[in-house]
Symmetry: C2
Subunit: 292 residues, 2 copies
């Protein structure tokens, strides 16, 4: 499939980084769509895209690939507002953290416009175009959730784009399974981080933190509107994984309170063993999913 | 206080790093005590100490500073077995992760031998002398828990040693407060990490992890016998902080399940604000504790 123009809508941390990473791909033009003057000026100054516009919707008829990089509500509104402007045969993807709700919303697109929900597992604890960088995706995972309608040509194009952006690998799954796993691997980590920061001793523990505390709480300084949307749009799966964690914490607490050293040691041995096994598999590259 | 000989008992990750970091301090000799032939040979090969011995107890009468770097049970046994061998006027410290139990055990020492429980907030997810390095403590916290009996001279010596090891700062507190705060900042992080690794999807989530998952689970590959001891010796404080976290997770889950976006946003705003405030204070150096 020949790609002459890629339109990236929203030049925040992910969109800005995506536009930068894709520059030069297949020799095509990368156009960035922005809303604020500040982001516009920064994008021009940092050469984030070949061209920057306040009116991305006007670029839709000429865009072979559209990458929606707004927050979930912004993506859903953009799809609904512009459903008839997309180029027939074009590939439309999004990069936000929930896939079922977005894939559902994308059903408003006319036949012939192929929507595939995607999720780059990259990020920072800071947001916005100032923190965007073309190397953000290097060695991270790229998740794609093609549907039955998705053409092999478009899927192959996504793999090529992912490789160009230097993702470490591509994982193909369904929107539903994505949301279930991401509730555990990403959203739960953010719920843990904010829950730890809500602790009574959070302000008095300076001088007592080691690497584990800094690592676990790093993502607590989150983008509140965006994460409120992500949590709400994936509420059942997230609530289930939080509840399961509560149960496992309760089990460790019971073992600690019971003073049953043998039981506690067995539990820790099992968990540490699981972690070491995964570390080992990944170090060896025992990864059976398709890479490039 | 003149220091001619420092004895480091146990050359694992922390002890080995401590011996390396202290080499050349005040021009004194650093002697390392080991149990296994393998650690002995590695210590000699890596020049971890000026001298390595299988019989650290024989060095006690000539040691001005003794640094106990075994696991908690090993420290307690060493204190009890060798209580009469320590040099009068010497400073004895330990570097393990609980302080009340160790300080209690150190009461067996004769008057004139000054025990001060210490805790370097440094570590790695791997252990042993192979992973020891003299730069391990750079910019980490050093916690000291002197008692009423501790001489100002010995406390000043600890500050000098901490500065020599390039710790970022020294925090002075009581053994009880140390254990309460460390339950929250360190032990809880390890309970969280193992609880996350016990998740049903742990082995099936490859391709879905981002930085937050790697960071949060990093310490799960823990040294089981040591952490079993640390958790057991601090059981009441740890159980309390785990239970408090369970409660906060339940509150977030309730907000997520209720679909009350405003409430969830307010909770996230508060937690993210707390984290940002602490990040800001630390970046500005608004740290009121004594540094060097």
């Amino acid at each position: 499939m020949e790609v002459k123009r890629i339109l990236v809508v929203g030049l925040g941390l992910i969109g800005g980084s995506m536009a930068m990473a894709l520059q030069g791909f297949d020799g095509c033009e990368v156009v960035g769509g922005v809303r604020s003057q500040r982001t516009h000026d920064k994008a021009v100054e940092r050469r984030v895209a070949d061209r920057v516009t306040f009116h991305p919707e006007e670029e839709l008829p000429g865009a072979d690939v559209v990458i929606l990089c707004q927050d979930p509500a912004g993506i859903i509104a953009f799809l609904q507002d512009n459903r008839d402007r997309f180029k027939p045969g074009s590939l439309v993807i999004d990069v936000c953290g929930v896939k079922t709700a977005i894939t559902e919303a994308a059903k408003c697109l006319p036949e012939g416009v192929d929507f595939i929900g995607c999720h780059p597992m990259a990020g920072k604890e800071v947001s916005g175009i100032d923190n965007a960088e073309g190397s953000l995706f290097r060695n991270t995972h790229f998740i794609i959730t093609p549907g039955e309608h998705s053409s092999e040509e478009h899927i192959a194009l996504l793999y090529r784009m992912a490789e160009y952006c230097r993702f470490g690998d591509v994982t193909r799954t369904t929107p539903e399974r994505h949301d279930e796993l991401i509730a555990y691997t990403s959203q739960l980590m953010h719920v843990i981080a904010v829950s730890v920061c809500d602790g009574d001793d959070f302000f008095s523990c300076q001088g007592f933190e080691g690497g584990s505390f800094r690592d676990c709480t790093r993502v607590a300084s989150l983008d509140v509107p965006m994460w409120t949307q992500l949590f709400t749009l994936n509420a059942p799966a997230l609530a289930k994984t939080v509840e399961a964690l509560e149960g496992r914490l309760r089990e460790y607490r019971a073992a600690i309170e019971s003073n049953d050293r043998e039981k506690l040691a067995a539990m820790l041995e099992s968990a540490a063993g699981r972690k070491k096994q995964v570390n080992l598999e990944r170090a060896r590259g025992d990864d059976v999913r398709p890479r490039f």
